[in-house]
Symmetry: C2
Subunit: 118 residues, 2 copies
């Protein structure tokens, strides 16, 4: 993780980010379309919901990764990470138009593994 | 804009992004706190709303900038940019807990100036 987030990989990270928006957004959009048909998703902007969701997941991923790399793994830090996760998850639920607290992106066990993986 | 988004500036862009999250998020959070006191903002996660909002603005900014740099300035592209702007604006309104269509991040005049600035 440290290597991935090192300055030497800044260009490849950005190229992959831009690439993922172009390539993964349409896939996410088709999943969202299916969810709309099934009545589980109710996004305000169906065509853009995939892209906005992806940018939120990417920001969440970067934020948590940099916290794992840079911060201590004390309880305050882990709590802060969990609070950030919950806030981003809530915003994704709002973008997708699904009920609150129904989406699970990272569970507690995985989060603890990440922190110890540091 | 092309220089800013060139590969040579990938490291400085990422450092500024990380720095802005640390420095600007608290400022945004204090504005949001004021909004909550005044009854205009009603975010689900007041402490994290600044950070999530900032990440959405940053993603929107990067997305529109790269479209301006890479795409033609035909009507289809401008319409796509406007649709992306509206979708991100809607998601920010949801994060801040403000009514739909009350937030204006970039107006049409500025958007047209950007496209012609290309």
């Amino acid at each position: 993780m440290r290597v991935w987030y090192s300055d030497d990989n800044a260009i490849i990270r950005q190229k992959m980010l831009n690439n993922s928006i172009e390539r993964i957004s349409p896939l996410l959009s088709s999943i969202i379309s299916q969810g709309i048909k099934e009545g589980t998703f109710e996004p305000s902007f169906p065509e853009q919901a995939g892209e906005v969701t992806l940018s939120l997941i990417q920001s969440l991923w970067d934020r948590l990764s940099l916290m794992i790399i840079n911060d201590t793994k004390d309880k305050g830090c882990i709590d802060q990470m969990k609070n950030i996760l919950v806030a981003y998850t809530d915003s994704i639920e709002k973008v997708l138009g699904i009920p609150e607290s129904t989406l699970s992106i990272i569970n507690d066990e995985t989060m603890n593994q990440w922190v110890n993986f540091k």
